[in-house]
Symmetry: C2
Subunit: 361 residues, 2 copies
Amino acid sequence: MKTYAISLLFLLFLISGRAQGDKTEPITIKNQGTFAIGGSIKKSEGTFDPIAHGVFNPTNQSTQGQTLHGDHATVLYQIPTEPRNLPLVFWHGYGQSMRTWQTTPDGREGFQSIFLRKGFPVYLLDQPRRGLSGQSLEPKMLEARTEDQLWFGIFRMGKGTNFYSNIQFSKDPEALNQFFRRSTPDTGPLDINLNIDAVSNLFNKIGDAVLVTHSHSGGQGWGTVLKTDHIKGIVAYEPGSNFIFPEGKAPEEISYVGGILKAREVPMEDFQKLTKIPIVIYYGDYIPEKKVENPGQEQWRAALLMARKWTKAVNEAGGDVTLVVLPEIGIKGNTHFPMSDLNNQEIAQLMYNWLEEKGLN
Amino acid sequence: MKTYAISLLFLLFLISGRAQGDKTEPITIKNQGTFAIGGSIKKSEGTFDPIAHGVFNPTNQSTQGQTLHGDHATVLYQIPTEPRNLPLVFWHGYGQSMRTWQTTPDGREGFQSIFLRKGFPVYLLDQPRRGLSGQSLEPKMLEARTEDQLWFGIFRMGKGTNFYSNIQFSKDPEALNQFFRRSTPDTGPLDINLNIDAVSNLFNKIGDAVLVTHSHSGGQGWGTVLKTDHIKGIVAYEPGSNFIFPEGKAPEEISYVGGILKAREVPMEDFQKLTKIPIVIYYGDYIPEKKVENPGQEQWRAALLMARKWTKAVNEAGGDVTLVVLPEIGIKGNTHFPMSDLNNQEIAQLMYNWLEEKGLN
């Protein structure tokens, strides 16, 4: 059997003639798994009696003296054989989960498998009160509101039900169906500090790694740098809010159709932590420079404007932030989800090149 | 580079001298991914205007004319190189998710990796309105009730906060912490028919496979056999309810401390589908034969009693059901989660032997 296996592997290498990392080759994993990290425990008054209170009652359960474990993050990891030194930790955005980094809506490989093939240990997380981390310690009413088209706009897929022209998204209706079904609601009140605590715990557990954020986790990512020393670099896709400036140095708020974007202020000592690591920020297409009437684009005009101010502020304080607006370097048609758009291999290569340039590979 | 890779692999095989499937060896995956399956779309009256309704408002969102995609299952799959013919589809129980089959609470490999190493394509699912399939089309109030100790009892870990003696569960407090944090609530009303639809769609998509159920998915599994021809065998861990009998032939309901267990009746033609495939059922330890006062044990006394009647009924109709009560074959200390207990490698081997015996490997 052993000889057979060796011969087969030999054959595979000889006849395929493909470079390692080619996506038609197998992925070889040293180990993989899942675990919960962070969170806390709440306890009800009284004493639990396993006889008197041990019957499940969906509508009128006795809870006295019992605990509830919740508000943790859930982590899925895969470690390739011969792993690179620094793992990548992938953190989803608003209304999303670890699925952001998995199979794309049109069925191709996402960043999880792409970077695993490049030899990186990958960690995907569901932040507290989202997806597999559904157990919240605070109650929440889930309303099941119809809002697909709202998010179609905010995620810059297009306007109403029409895609933007030249978009990097499959026109196969099943791709859009899969895209919508990746959304999953908050199962408790959204609490940024709770999320930051769980993710900083994750870094403290696994050690030095690079954080990859998307959208709402962008600002949370800056906040996490203040809580752990193990973030050695950040790749931020389309950060939307919670840009952090030193006390007294935040820029004016930016008003846009649909809201106001404010910066967050922290003590200078904290802000300086953001100047100690390399950071790259990517934005996709369809972000106007000047005010437009479409709210789906407006909040990204504000975010990009704030990101430019933030990049300048961090770099002037000695930091190393690179801001890349994809259409400005000739990469067009990207939505709010460049990591799963049709050109995601090109987007991944850009990220890989940046990691290499900064010595983070 | 290629020569180097070959030499290294060679070396690995030569010096390790280990049989394939040894858990210290790498897992080799042909491909892996995630997708949504099943579900439906609800639509609100009116017309969506991307300008007027395109601003996100957490408390007062306009929903008119918009859709919501929800009620799908989410599937994670991994296909090993040189896969066996029949994949395994793993379906979690009540309050749980695909994490049931992943890393154990004490950090060892779960059935996902164990059976992947044995060469099976594995499919793990989160049923509609659970975990990564959080988007429900019906609203739900999540109450964040303290009920850890209730489930500690029902999951037959022990009574109150005390473990049963000789239990196959780590006494490291972190194991229990991880165990509790695998629970995740329903994000919409529990609807068995919805779940069965999604899972039968999954089988229709991937073709012939073996279904592995746990607890609440046991009864749903029987129901899924009525909806798809692609289930070639079932392994059911601790099925709790919804045992299916022919019309007019259901046994009397079984009363236990905490409730009443009723059988479900279907037309004879449907029932007969359950006689066409091999089925094995496993129950763990601490299930009394006679009535006790502890509700945490009582519902399993009723379930096992019903399972015995069901096994007899299906086999008398020409079926092939094997009922295994683990302590009766000398395997003691198992909780309601044999697939993640300390002896889960032994439990997996039992299942593998059964698959082999039935030609399902």
